[in-house]
Amino acid sequence: MSTVTQTADEVILSKPEGRFKQFWKKFLKRKAAVVSLIFILLMIGVAVFAPIFLKYQVQAADYNNMLAGPSMKHFWGTDEFGRDVFTRLMVGTRLSLFSALISVVIGTVIGVILGVLAGYYGGIFDSIVMRCCDILFAFPDILLAIAIVAILGPGIINVIIAVAVFTVPSFARIMRSATLEAKEEPYVEVARSIGCSPRRVLWKHVFPETVQSLIVNFTMRIGTAILASSSLSFLGFGANVTEPDWGAMLSQGRNYLNSAPHMVICPGLLIFLTVLAFNLLGDGLRDTLDPKIK
């Protein structure tokens, strides 16, 4: 019996490498997704290292240069306090990108655990999790976030919580059905029949099969999260307006739309491109990971 389990393990262990190389080769053929990945990595780099190479201070006001349009001195112009918009946007990457990432990671982890457990064990636990998801689904995405922020009060932490909460049910559902499907796979039956413990079957055999849909949805959800959190900031429910958050900056810039349109165009464009990059990457990943969907 033990030898059989070992060979099964070897198969599983040797799989990722070969698979990854194959996946990478296929992925490189999708130009849009590759460009998006580079863009995203660049943005993450900016988020981490921005303060080192930027010319201006985030809060450095220059009252001689208020609402100035793009120039050689101020790449993307200045805001109502004469602060450099480019600098603020780059530093803002931290707040906007990381808050979206954190909220999706939290939502995903909770959703995945609930979904996999519900799918694998079924029964009352499954029913409870799924009914809770139904309830959360009964609120359209952004309304749920608004409701949560309305209760908890505005602020970036609360936005993260709100976005995380509406990420949970979609992941729970996806993972539940993926687990149910994987449970029926013959090799999982085999693993069970040779006496693997349920937990081992669950994490070593069922979970790896669901990783594909997980990765794709995770990527797409980050785009949604950036949109949601910037929308909340725009409404004034998110980050404090003094902070360099993309949505908050856009919201401020709105008051100067006529005199300084760059204050709206630039942050909006950055949000758009970042979300677009995540969506294109998600599309590319789905096409490479799942040849069935085209």
Binding site: D134, A138, P140, D141, L143, L235, I265, F272, N279
Partner: protein, 306 residues
């Protein structure tokens, strides 16, 4: 079919009750004492207690919930502190703009989205497909409020074609409808495309061609007629989300609709209005999902004849 409809309706009722209760609870969780708020900061403890009793806030939570729910059926949604008027009278005039906007954006978004999706599927891998899909993925990625502001800047301020804000004339609805429908158009285009691609590969499409049917007929009567069932479902679910989408659009365009009211009420801590709106939005969402389910059953003969 009758059984199916009844089952669907019955399964939605408990969900509605649970959600209304949750919203009620949420609103009560918000820090701050409503009785104190109404009485004013310098009222005596006795005055606050009197108001508390008048409002029924001294009763247990469950009892308060039942009183509130009973009120809903009599059109009594509580009292708006900010407007100094019953909540119902605050909300009612806000319906019209939101509903008109929703319908306008739904119509153009569905027509264009489905059209783009079919074209993309039929011309798969060709330039038209790429163009349609670039439009679609951009539509999903663009922040609606930013798009709205850009449209105002370009079409209203620079070109002067449309009013910049408010609802003064029929033209006022154009830009908000574009803003609101953009995401749905994109979602429908992508969904229609993938559904069409799947159905175009089906055996019965080959049968239709083997019959000698012309290509446009094969695409519309066979592939699309089958995709339609799923497309209607997805489109229907989007309407539910649209009313909420009005929050962003109405804020950008300063339209006195339900979405704008929600934002204003949260900012003014007018919680009776927030509560009523949250209830309305989520119940509306459930009801639309229910209708979509029933329509799905009606369109799909496999469900209809069971």
């Amino acid at each position: 079919m009758g059984k199916y409809v009844v089952k669907r309706i019955l399964s939605a009722i408990p969900l509605m009750l649970v959600i209304s209760f949750l919203i009620f609870m949420f609103i009560h969780l918000i820090p701050g004492d409503p009785a104190r708020l109404i009485a004013g900061m310098d009222a005596t403890k006795q005055e606050v207690e009197t108001i508390r009793r008048q409002l029924g806030l001294d009763k247990p939570l469950m009892a308060q919930y039942f009183i509130y729910m009973k009120g809903i059926f009599h059109g009594d949604l509580g009292y708006s502190i900010k407007n100094n008027a019953p909540v119902a009278s605050v909300i009612l005039p806000r319906f019209k703009p939101t509903i008109i906007l929703t319908i306008c954006s739904m119509i153009w978004a569905t027509i264009l989205g489905v059209f783009l999706g079919i074209i993309a599927a039929v011309r798969r891998g060709k330039p038209l497909d790429y163009l349609a899909m670039i439009i679609a993925i951009s539509g999903i990625s663009v922040p609606g409020f930013w798009l709205g502001l850009m449209l105002i800047q370009f079409f209203s301020v620079n070109l002067g074609w449309f009013p910049t804000a408010g609802l003064t004339m029929a033209k006022s609805y154009v830009l908000p409808s574009i803003t609101m429908g953009c995401g749905i158009m994109a979602i429908l285009a992508r969904f229609t495309r993938s559904s069409m691609l799947e159905n175009l590969r089906k055996d019965y499409v080959r049968t239709a061609r083997a019959k000698g049917m012309s290509e446009p007929k094969v695409i519309l009567k066979y592939a699309f007629r089958n995709s339609l069932i799923e497309v209607v479902t997805v489109a229907g679910l989007q309407i539910g989300g649209l009313l909420t989408g009005s929050v962003m659009t109405e804020t950008v365009f300063s339209i006195p609709g339900l979405g704008r009211l929600l934002v204003d009420s949260i900012n003014f801590r007018d919680y009776k209005v927030v509560q009523a709106l949250l209830m309305f939005f989520s119940l509306e969402y459930i009801i639309i999902n229910l209708i979509v389910d029933i329509v799905y059953g009606f369109l799909n003969p496999k469900v209809r004849y069971q």
